[in-house]
Each structure stands twice: as structure tokens, then as C-alpha cells.
Amino acid sequence: MAGKIIADTLEHSTAGSLDTSYVVNGSAKSWMNLTGTGTIAVNDSLNVTSCTDGGTGRYKPQYTNSFSSVNYTPQGIDDNYGVGWANAYTTGEVQNVRGNNSFSVLDAGIFSFSAHGDLA
């Protein structure tokens, strides 16, 4: 690809240097912003093939480039209570469940998701 720079270290004139592996390993490998009410729709994303609406408050993004193992870290937040959990995840998808303060499942107006880890 055009504009390719290969570097192991970035160095600032005064603030020190940074190993580029921090950038590569520390960047989100997948993210998604989704409207979770009405007919749900993915508003924007990276490395997402589709999102499955699995019922009230249940949103499952599927990755285009799978993670290398299940030892990655998905996280999400919404515009309701910000309460949620993930279950049944594989290297290719993760089921996110959103709820209220009593852990009752609830649709999110906007659900934002990202995942960090190593890609396959």
C-alpha cells in the first residue's frame, strides 16, 4: 500500500520515545456504534460484518477479522444505565446484553462497543 512507514519506535523531541508495538497492541481491533431501538442499525464500525439483534437488549457483533483466541477484551456502554455484560463469546463474535440497575435486560438507544486483543 502507498504511504507505508515501517518503524519500531516513535521518538518525540523532548517527551521521550514510544515503541510502536504499544500502538499496534493497544489499539481497538473492532468497534461499533449501534442504534438499539426500533429496527436496529449499525451507524458506524470497524471490523464488523454484521450485528445480530437477539431480543431485548441483546446485540451480537460478528467480526470480519476474527481474534486469535477468546482471551480478548470486549467492552460496551449505552445511553441508559451503562450496565451490561458479555456472554457466549467466541473468536468471531460476542453476545452483549444491556440492562438497568436491577440487571433487568433493556434496549439501548445507542450501544457503543469495542474490543482489544490479538487478531487471528
Binding site: 449499525v42 470497524l46 464488523v48 460484518t49 454484521s50 439483534d53 431480543g55 483466541s69 468471531g92 487478531l119
Partner: protein, 158 residues
């Protein structure tokens, strides 16, 4: 129209980053409704707009069989980590698809195989492709949604 670089051998994530920068997302009106358990409500598969742009563009996505191979590996009881990730990056990318072909690809990638391989067996279809306008506008009683029993395979073929 933007020309896709020759991507075979380029890491799939790099291709997706290229697509994010160079292609506009395409919101599909299609939705895939399926049932994979009699105890659960119908699920709805929503295509991602950036992925759909890649599918329509061509030369970016790996063939769908690659995902099936990785799923086979992951189904092994001693699975810890993918060792055949190179299939995603080194297999020749698929050509441009129509939106309908992209939905077929998506079904084979993201719906359970038990659904799409036997979708028309049994008393009623387990899977329906529809337009989003055909879904209920309100999510009231969402956890009770089912594919109607009146919907015959003949209706779907029409």
C-alpha cells in the same frame, strides 16, 4: 469508482482499514430473520454498512469457506488459539458481489449452520430474508417475536 489495490497476502485488518478510509458505508435494507432455538425469540441479522461496502467493492473479503475452516478449528476441544489465521490474509479475496449475493455470504458466515443448511425443513421456515420495513416498527414484546407459521416456503419463493 475507487480501484481496489491488489490485496492478496495483505493482512485482512489492513484491508478493512483501507476500506474504512476509501469507501462510503452502504446501509442495506435487507434483514435476515432466523430461529435457532424453539425456546428463544427470532433473531435478526443486520448487515454492517462498512462490510457491505467491502462486499460490493470486491477484492477485500476472504471467501466464506475460510470462516468455516476457522470455526472447525475452534470447535476442537483442545482449541486455544487460531493457527490458520493466514487463511484470512493469504486466500485470494472474493470478487465484487451484488447486495443479494452479499446477504447470502453473510448468512453462511454469521447464521448458525444448523439454520441455513436446513432452513426450509420442518413445519415452517427457520429463516426469512426481508426488508427492514417488513419488521415491526416497535420492539414491544420483542422477546416473543417468532417467524409466523402461516409463512410458507412457497410465499418465500414468490
Amino acid at each position: 469508482m475507487t480501484t481496489t489495490p491488489s490485496f492478496q497476502g495483505t493482512h485482512l485488518f489492513d484491508r478493512l482499514c483501507w476500506a474504512k478510509e476509501n469507501l462510503d458505508g452502504v446501509q442495506s435494507d435487507y434483514r435476515v430473520v432466523y430461529e435457532d432455538s424453539i425456546d428463544e425469540c427470532a433473531k435478526i441479522l443486520v448487515p454492517d454498512p462498512n462490510w457491505m461496502a467491502c462486499a460490493l467493492q470486491g477484492g477485500i473479503l476472504p471467501p466464506v469457506w475460510v470462516y468455516h475452516e476457522l470455526a472447525k478449528d475452534e470447535a476442537q476441544p483442545d482449541f486455544k488459539k487460531h493457527t490458520r489465521g493466514y487463511l484470512l490474509h493469504n486466500t485470494e479475496p472474493v470478487d465484487a458481489m451484488t447486495e443479494e449475493e452479499a446477504i447470502e455470504y453473510l448468512i453462511m458466515k454469521d447464521c448458525p449452520q444448523s439454520v441455513w443448511q436446513t432452513w426450509d425443513e420442518g413445519n415452517k421456515p427457520k429463516m426469512v430474508i426481508c426488508r427492514k420495513e417488513q419488521l415491526p416498527a416497535s420492539r414491544e414484546w420483542r422477546n416473543a417475536w417468532k417467524i409466523t407459521e402461516e409463512l410458507s416456503v412457497t410465499d418465500l419463493a414468490a
